[in-house]
Amino acid sequence: MREAREEIYEVFAQSDRGEPHAHVGSLLARDADFALCLAKELFCRRGEAVSLWVVPRGSVSSTSLTDDELLGASERTYRLGEGYRVTVEKRRRLKEAHAS
């Protein structure tokens, strides 16, 4: 006789081949194959996905709110496209200088 238990499973669905799996919700089930069996009808009964993942909630580690301030913080304009707006200006000046 196995120990009956209930777990929350997080469900991730891939809408189309090549797309990432996105979180679509959670469900209660006893184990992974039961969770997959149920997830198919709960989250894919209109054929919205080509692939499903189920993960026990306990297996998901996450950052906390204060971490998100840390995750987004610093001044790193060299990593962003907008850090290079000045480049357009440099080109314009050089072009002008060369033409004259």
């Binding site: 009956a4 238990r5 209930e6 929350i8 919700g25 469900l27 209660l28 006893r30 709110l65």
Partner: protein, 310 residues
């Protein structure tokens, strides 16, 4: 951080339009108000399935039988999504889905008035799917921007599915209206039965309680009852009238000046009676729910283990 600082930070987040997530710090009142709103919704989806599922075994023809079954399936699916959100939000309060449904079945929890009314004919199925779901779509659409993240996210899916239900309901209505004299009469009578409950659905006009004010300030709910009732009438009254159905309100009319719909106020005493648990079908349906919970408890015990299972 002091409690005051936490509250200020929390309200700052709301002011910036940020969503609150399940594990975030939130004032106790915010948690409880969200939970009350969300639970009423979950309970309503579960109770709403009952009048409609009576017609699954009797639906005329393959197309309708499959469509009604799929619709009720969606409602149960919505209940699943919403109870999950409620459970996560209620974790610090020690509530589980099992206890929430027990509360509902015992008559201790609230659900929308409309699901306490009988659905005696096939035409009621059409009216419910078109107009009751239409009303729900107005109130749920108004909640899409709710500040509580997990609820906002599932509402997107729920609203998308309700939109399909509307089409299904409208199709039944139009088919009956374009059918035999008997079918048209069945439909007219169903509309007359549901008119007042649907107007009631949005809640009393200009009901400004401290609770509502707080919920609007915190972005839990965003529109007033009357605003939503007007939105419903704007959209559906013309569609009802143009096919020859006659709502049981001779004073129903559009005022070009105020750009609002005039209607006879429904009896609000009846509304409060129903909401407090005394609707025509309330006790019977709650008893059905209780019976089902009890009869199937052995399955949940076997599969899910001891988790407050009766």
């Amino acid at each position: 951080m002091t409690e005051e600082q936490r509250l200020a930070a929390f309200e700052g987040r709301l002011a910036r339009g940020e969503r609150i997530e399940a594990d975030d710090w939130m004032p106790e009142t915010y948690r409880r108000q969200c939970l009350r709103l969300i639970l009423t919704h979950a309970n309503s989806e579960l109770m709403g399935a009952l009048p409609e599922r009576e017609w699954v075994p009797r639906a005329p023809g393959f197309h309708r039988k499959l469509a009604v079954l799929a619709k009720v399936q969606d409602e149960i699916g919505h209940a699943q999504l919403i109870y999950r959100v409620a459970e996560d939000l209620a974790r610090p309060l020690g509530m589980s889905r099992e206890t929430m449904i027990e509360d509902l079945a015992a008559g201790r929890a609230k659900f929308h008035n409309v699901f306490s009314y009988p659905a005696p004919t096939w035409a009621d199925v059409g009216i419910i799917a078109w107009l009751v779901d239409g009303a729900a779509l107005v109130t749920q659409g108004a909640l899409l921007k709710t500040s509580y993240g997990p609820y906002a996210r599932i509402l997107r899916r729920i609203c998308a599915e309700e939109a399909i239900h509307l089409k299904h309901g409208e199709d039944i209505v139009l088919t009956l209206m374009g059918g035999t004299a008997g079918q048209r009469q069945m439909l007219q009578e169903a509309l007359e039965r549901w008119w007042e409950p649907i107007l009631h659905f949005f809640g009393p006009p200009d009901e400004v309680s401290p609770n509502t004010e707080q919920m609007i300030r915190w972005g839990i709910r965003l529109k007033s009852n009357e605003a939503m009732r007007q939105e419903f009438l704007q959209h559906y009254a013309p569609k009802i009238l143009e096919i020859g159905l006659v709502p049981p309100d001779p004073d129903l009319s559009y005022d070009e000046v105020s750009r609002t719909w005039h209607y006879t106020q429904p009896d609000w005493d009846v509304f409060w009676q129903v909401v407090k648990g005394d609707g025509p079908k309330t006790k019977e349906r709650l008893a059905l729910r209780r019976l089902s919970q009890e009869e199937q408890a052995w399955v949940r015990r076997a599969v899910l283990g001891k988790r407050d299972v009766a």
